[in-house]
Every structure is written in C-alpha cells, then in structure tokens.
C-alpha cells in the first residue's frame, strides 16, 4: 500500500487498527482481521454495505463494544501510540476519541443546551459555555430550538449529535452514517459543516458511510469493507475512478457488468 509508505514518512498516524478481530457474545465473529490507519488532521472514510461491520469497527475503537457484549479478540487499536483495545469507553473519551453513533442518539427528553453540556461531561474547565456558543456558530439553527431535543428534525438532531461530540474537544471523531435519513440537500449541508469543523478545529475524522458519493467528496482516503474485512482502500481519486467502486457504491458505472464479471469481482475480493 503506497498510502502506508507515504504516511510513515510523514508521521505516525493518529489511529492504527492492526489486524483486529471482533467477536460478539463470545461466538459471533464479525471482524476478521481489519487494519486501517487514520492520519492526523484528515477525514478518512469507511464504506461498505449493510452488515459489513462498519459500526462494529467504530465501536471497537470507542470501546462501546463492551456495552454490547463484544470484544476485540485479536490485534491492536493504537491511538497516539497507546493500545486502547477493550478499554472502557469513559476512558477512551477522556483520551480524545468520541463516537457519534448511528441514528444520532441524542437525549430526547433534554434540551439542546443540556445535550451539549453533557457532551462536555469529561471536561472540568471553564470554557464549556464558550464552547457551546462555538457549536451554535457552526449550527446556528440549533440555537433557536429551545424545546426538547426529541422534537428536533432529523437534520437538526444530526447537527446536535455532531455539536455534542465537539463539546468533548476530541482529537478523533468517529461518525457513523451522518447522512442517514437526511434529504440530499441536508446531507450536503451537514457534510460541508463536518469538513469545516475538521479544518478549523483540527479534529481528525473517521467517517462511516453508505453514501459513498458524498463521503468520497470530503474524505482524503477511503477503505471499503465487506463481510468483516477490508476489501479495498485508496486515496479519494483512486477510489472515485475505480470501476468496482463506481459500479457498486457510486452508482451508474461506465458499462453494465455481466454476471461473469461480477463473479470474478467477488472471487477476487475473497483473496484480498
């Protein structure tokens, strides 16, 4: 992988997954040797179909696996030079990783302001209130919503989920399908803000998406995952110009693929 070479020349990546294996309930093997790197300051995306193991990968990093009876049984999760595999989530949050879970998961019976304050739960400094104002600057429409967060629209809830993550001042933000259930216009808006936050706040992002179009537009590097394995990776341009990616993820590939080709693709994948 050329990516790895250029990276190691530059600097240690912020996050490195080293051949990790994840098992749920002690028997269900879901990740079978996943390796990936997230360089500091960048947006890296992880693509793949339903059930591929994308959310599981994020939970393995954030420690939330433990809440679902899952465990990293092999490999390592290196964050800033430390192995954090199977650490408690509250510890990992304190080390600077914050996961925005799939489906937003804001606290519906609290106000926007209370949700944001809880994002800063692990902090004890005096800048929490000024950070709330900062979040409102990125998401001005949140400031107008004074009722319970449960009544926010889907887009606003996603913004709140991202804003809440910012309140923890993470070094690495894990975003799980932020485009889910949003209108195309709103998806664009949310991703533009994500990119702005990445640039202005220097927060590194690992972005899980099914919407490869939008994800590759904003990421610098991408991984494709299927059935618990990384089957492809490359820079944004490499992936955008790859025929298989076009065919399966971006939609509307150049030529219609025959069944034979499709099978060869699958076979090739298996040996990757």
């Amino acid at each position: 992988m050329s990516h790895t070479a250029t990276q190691s020349e530059a600097a240690e990546p912020l996050l490195t997954l080293n051949n990790i294996e994840v098992v749920y309930d002690e028997v269900i093997l879901v990740l079978r040797g996943v390796s990936l790197e997230v360089p500091k300051g960048e947006i890296v995306t992880l693509l793949g179909p339903n059930g591929a193991g994308k959310s599981t990968t994020l939970k393995a990093i954030s420690g939330l696996l433990g809440t679902e009876d899952g465990k990293v049984t092999r490999g390592s999760v290196q964050f800033m030079g430390e192995d954090i595999a199977n650490s408690a989530p509250e510890q990992i949050v304190r080390q600077g990783i914050f996961q925005v879970m799939e489906g937003r998961r804001i606290i519906g019976d609290m106000t926007v302001h209370e949700n944001l304050r809880l994002g800063a739960y692990t902090r004890k400094d005096k800048e929490i209130n000024s950070d709330i104002e900062m979040v409102y600057n990125y998401f001005p429409r949140l400031k107008e919503r004074t009722g319970l967060a449960g009544y926010l629209s889907g887009g606003e809830q996603q913004m709140l989920a991202i804003g809440r993550a910012m309140m923890a001042r993470p070094k690495l933000m894990l975003l799980d399908e932020p485009s889910m259930g949003l209108s195309p216009l709103l998806v664009k808006e949310v991703f533009n803000i994500i990119q702005t936050i990445n640039r202005e706040q220097g927060i590194t992002m690992l972005l899980v998406e099914q919407n490869a179009n939008i994800a590759l537009k904003h990421a610098t590097y991408g991984y494709v995952m299927e059935s618990g394995k990384i089957v492809m990776d490359g820079t944004r341009d490499e992936l955008m110009n790859n025929e298989d990616i076009k065919q399966f993820y971006l939609g509307g590939g150049e030529e219609r693929r025959s069944f034979k080709n499709l099978k060869s693709y699958k076979r090739r994948k298996r040996w990757l």
């Binding site: 954030s62 809440t67 679902e68 989530p89 509250e90 914050f98 998961r105 609290m110 923890a168």
Partner: protein, 297 residues
C-alpha cells in the same frame, strides 16, 4: 358535616403527602436510573432513623453532629448495597432483582428488630414543639418543619437534575445507557450515586418522621405506601411522585373522614390508597406522568 375537621385532615394529608412524595422520589430515582424496583425503600427510612437515634441516645452525640454522621453513613450504606448486592444482578431477569430487594427488605426489617427491639422509641427533643395557628387551624411546628424539609429536598432534587453535572449524567443514563457511556459517563458510578442519594434522602425522611412519631418498624410502611404513590404519578416520573404523594396523602385522610362520618367500614386510612392503586392500574396504567413504553411488572 364537620368542615373544620375535614380541613384539618386535608392539611394533615398535605403534610404527610409531601413526605410520601420525598420517599417516592427516592424510589423513582433508583427505578429510573437503574431499573431496579426497590422493595426495601421503607427500610432505608428505618435504618436511617435507627442509626440517628442510636448515635444520639447511646453516644449522646449532639444533633448537629449525629445527624450529618447518619447521612454520611447512609451514603456509604447505599453505595455498598449497590456494589455488593445489586451490581452482580445486572443483566439478571427483572423478577430475580425484585426477589433480591424483597429479601433485603425482610432482612433489614428483622435486623433492625433484633438490634433495637420492637417498641416505639422516641427521639430526644431536638426542637421545641409548639402549636402554630394557620388559617384558624392548629398545626404542630414539627409538622411544619417536616413540610419545609420535604419541600427543600424537592427543590434540591430539581436543581440537581436540571443543573448539576452528576444530575444530568443520571438523566442521560436513565434515557439511554449506551449513549451515556459514549459521552464518557461511567454507568457504574451513576448507579452507585443513585443508591447513595436515595438512601440519604430516605434516611432524612425517616429521621423527620421519627422525630414526630417516634422510631419503630412502622417507618418501613412508608416503603409500601410508595407503591400507590408512584403508580399514580408514573413509575419513572420525579414530578409525578411529588404530585402522587400529595394526592395519596390527602386521599387517605379524606377517606378516613368519610369513613368516620358515614361509611363506618374501618381502617380506610390504610386501605384506601391501595384501592386507588388498583383503580389507577385499570384506567391509567402508566400513571399521570409516566412514560408509556416502560415495562409493567
């Protein structure tokens, strides 16, 4: 009809009702954040009152020292109970957890009987008791004090859950444990804190009642009264528990009045709340303020 007596009973009802409200809040606090139905809530009052009585009578500690010491003990007691008994039960079927809390209730009831006997014992006089005239009614100052303390506890709960970091963390945990953990909240700590707060505030209520009525195993009856209150207010609603407490407090006094005037059934004071409980379960099973999707047991 004797309206003066009725008014007096309504006032009594409100006074005892605020105490019910406080105990019910303690119950709801545990249920909301840890999903444990605590059948030993009444024993918390009993343990708190006996501990304080013991410190004051046997060691002749002054109240200003014995009282905070009791509360400190209850913090440790609440945490220990959660960590040693309830934490290993996490993930067990709800009925097993209920069995455990029923067991705790019986155990502490018996233990207190063993240690302190079965007669009612009175507290040393801490405050002067006089009778105060309110709107033409004679109300004992002790009752007014108990009401003031109850209201203060309620206000403290409100501010705790609205503004404190720990209070918000408890609400987050009650709403969605996994999300709470993703925010960096330690669910273990929240559970322990819920039991500690519940034990301390219950003990406070136990001491207040003990100072008015004396300390005896009757205190733990408050733990049973909590059920009509929280079923009326909604198992998971703090506000509901306060309002439920007031309603049940007034209800039992008015029932007593109706009984003495016309019905002559006897004992309605004790039974009426439970009739109410059955009726509420039939017409409004989630209570006045409860969340619809909670599981009924």
């Amino acid at each position: 009809m004797n309206t003066e007596l009725l008014m007096q009973l309504v006032v009594n009802g409100l006074i005892v009702g605020t105490l019910y409200g406080v105990v019910a809040m303690c119950f709801v606090l545990i249920y909301k954040s840890t999903r444990v139905v605590n059948f030993a809530q009444g024993e918390f009052l009993l343990i708190g009152a006996w501990t304080c009585w013991w410190l004051l009578m046997k060691f002749e500690l002054p109240f200003w020292f014995g009282f905070p010491l009791t509360l400190a003990f209850m913090v440790v007691f609440g945490i220990a109970l959660q960590v040693i008994v309830l934490r290993p039960m996490i993930g067990e079927p709800i009925i097993s957890v209920i069995m455990v809390t029923i067991g705790l209730s019986i155990f502490f009831q018996a233990l207190m009987g063993l240690l302190f006997g079965h007669e009612t014992k009175s507290f040393p006089q801490v405050f002067e008791t006089t009778s105060v005239n309110i709107l033409g009614m004679q109300v004992q100052s002790a009752y007014i004090l108990s009401m003031v303390i109850s209201v203060l506890v309620m206000v403290a709960f409100y501010y705790f859950f609205k503004y404190s970091r720990t209070g918000l963390a408890m609400r987050a945990t009650a709403f969605d444990q996994q999300v709470a953990q993703s925010l960096g909240i330690s669910v273990k700590h929240v559970f322990a804190a819920a039991w500690a707060i519940s034990a301390v505030v219950s003990a406070l209520a136990g001491i207040v009642i003990g100072m008015v009525n004396g300390v005896s195993s009757a205190l733990s009856f408050f733990g049973i009264k909590v059920f009509p209150v929280v079923i009326l207010g909604g198992l998971d609603s703090i506000v509901g528990s306060v309002i439920g407490g007031l309603i049940i407090g007034v209800l039992e006094n008015v029932a007593e009045f109706a009984d003495s005037q016309w019905l002559h059934i006897g004992n309605l004071y004790v039974i009426a709340p439970f009739y109410a409980l059955i009726i509420i379960l039939m017409i409004k099973p989630y209570g006045l303020f409860g969340t619809k999707d909670i599981e009924r047991i």
